[in-house]
């Protein structure tokens, strides 16, 4: 008896040990990739931001917080920062509310719902470079079809991307067009998860239409609203604070123009690094953006959670 219990516990131990070893073996390559591709470079970004580095990474000089001081006197950086805030101020509410509106409409209908959902989602999966060029053509002042269409309803041709005042909202509109479908899908999932009984109970209590929406739908959508706002602002895939590809391609001949009116922080970082070869300064710029993104995401999480709590 005693020996058999002893031996079984030894077998149990080795089995556990073996399983642990298997786990480490499974994780070895993926973890190596995570550390080498994501974690180590992140730390390096901080390190780069306090060095001066032109062309040859081996010849770096420590400059402390010099780049961060330089930024506050750099009018073009400040303009890019201001533009980025403007893009977010226009693009995030537009994406979220249009997404919510379309989802609510889709929730009203039964036939063709899947088809509409697919149509609204399609731009999200297509290459941003290609659709940016398509829009760039459609919005061109003389050859563009948008001005042709506006002409039919009596609106004079608009300069769109060539005007310092219209360019930024135009870029924002293209971004909203591309990403709104993502929010539609998020809200549709949330709407479908609200139990029918709640509405029925509320109807029995005499609630209807707008008050149903305000008292039931909207509060229950709160988690999706938080998610949607955070994703639109700062997610790695569609976050408007990291806007680059659309800005670069909508105005390839003069990225960020006219007069810097469409420039963004990431575009400016790219230009500092790969046009001016001032890599240390570029790294400092992106570190600042990272700090901003992190702060805003955390703030949004707190504020939006609190406001709709019941």
């Amino acid at each position: 008896m005693g020996t058999s219990r002893h031996s079984s516990s030894v077998v149990g131990l080795t089995l556990r040990r073996r399983r642990i070893l298997w786990a480490y073996a499974f994780l070895a390559v993926p973890l190596l990739f995570f550390v080498a591709i994501r974690i180590w470079p992140m730390l390096q970004a901080f390190q780069l931001s306090v060095t001066r580095w032109h062309v040859d990474p081996a010849q770096r000089v420590f400059v402390g917080f010099h780049h961060f001081q330089q930024m506050w006197g750099d009018a073009k950086f400040l303009q890019a920062l201001r533009n980025t805030a403007l893009y977010a101020a226009i693009g995030v509410p537009a994406q979220v509310f249009l997404g919510l509106g379309i989802a609510l409409l889709l929730n009203n209908i039964r036939r063709l719902r899947g088809l509409f959902r697919a149509i609204y989602f399609a731009p999200y999966v297509t290459p941003a470079v290609a659709v940016a060029w398509a829009w760039s053509y459609m919005l061109s002042p003389h050859l563009g079809v948008v001005n042709t269409l506006l002409g039919y309803v009596g609106i004079p041709p608009q300069p769109f991307l060539t005007s310092p005042t219209q360019a930024l909202p135009t870029v924002a509109a293209v971004v909203v067009w591309q990403f709104v479908g993502f929010h539609v899908v998020i809200f549709l999932v949330a709407l479908n998860s609200i139990p029918r009984e709640i509405y029925e109970a509320a109807r029995v209590d005499g609630a209807s239409g707008w008050s149903l929406f305000r008292r039931i739908t909207f509060p229950l959508l709160n988690p999706s609203l938080v998610l949607s706002v955070i994703m639109a602002t700062a997610s790695p895939s569609i976050g408007i604070l990291q806007l680059f590809t659309q800005v670069m391609n909508l105005r390839m001949y003069d990225p960020g123009g006219p007069l810097g009116s469409t420039s963004t922080v990431v575009l400016y970082m790219y230009q500092m690094a790969f046009r001016r070869f001032d890599f240390g300064y570029a790294a400092a710029i992106i570190v600042v953006l990272f700090a901003i993104i992190l702060t805003i995401s955390l703030l949004q999480l707190r504020v939006l959670r609190r406001r709709f709590e019941y």
Binding site: R19, L27, L143, W177, L227, M248, L289
Partner: protein
Amino acid sequence: MRRRVSPVQVLSYLVLTAGAVIMIFPFVWMLLTSLKPLPEIYSLSWLPRQPTLQNYVTILFRYQFGRWFLNSLLVGAATTLSMVVFSSLTGYTLTKLDFPGKGFVFVLILATLFVPTEMLVLPWYASSVRYGWVDTYWGIMFPGMIHAFGVFLMRQFFQSLPNDLLDAARVDGLSELGVFWRVALPLMRSPLAALAILAFLGNWNAFIWPLIVTNRSEVFTLPVGLAMFSGEAGAQWNLITAGATLSVFPVLLVFAIFQRHIIESVASSGVKG
């Protein structure tokens, strides 16, 4: 049962249709323009009066769009394979095996979700210069070899897999690798397909990193090639839209076939964070 269509529904259909036209129109316009000879760009024709495939012949044979298309396929295939294998391995290990340091590994991977690609491109570029990866396929693809998004997607699906099933396989004498490869993975066909599609699309559409790490046109991916070509093509919108169509329509085709899959996995990964 009588079919009733309420006024609210009629209005919903009207608004949704108008919106859908705005969503589709750029793709239609892109395709139509790519079939027009250059003079029709300036005469602002609606439908191509003399439809031609000459624009495609030009971009494929006079320019390097064919090469860029193949580069994008190659880079996409390699990174997708890596993403699928390592994401499922990691997702499985984190849900189905116990080991010291599990919490730490989890947090480590989770943390990488919060770091935007844009923050990493400069360190990646520094390494690529140091190791000679600029203008190589490896240079383009190494950042896409793994992503926390894939790990969390797979983890979520593995959580629904009953442990009893895996234990039964262990009792039958399968090694841990056998349990993963022969029992767990085959049950994950549709999540794996979804992950593969999303990973491939992500790479097919990627722009900032391939733009940075390539200078020679032979190694451009399709988006980088399209951007560079279009930047120099002036107002030859017939050629630019042919290039854009070439990069968009394979995606729309894949999307049309797997749209339910794609939308549902994007939704679930988004909702679950």
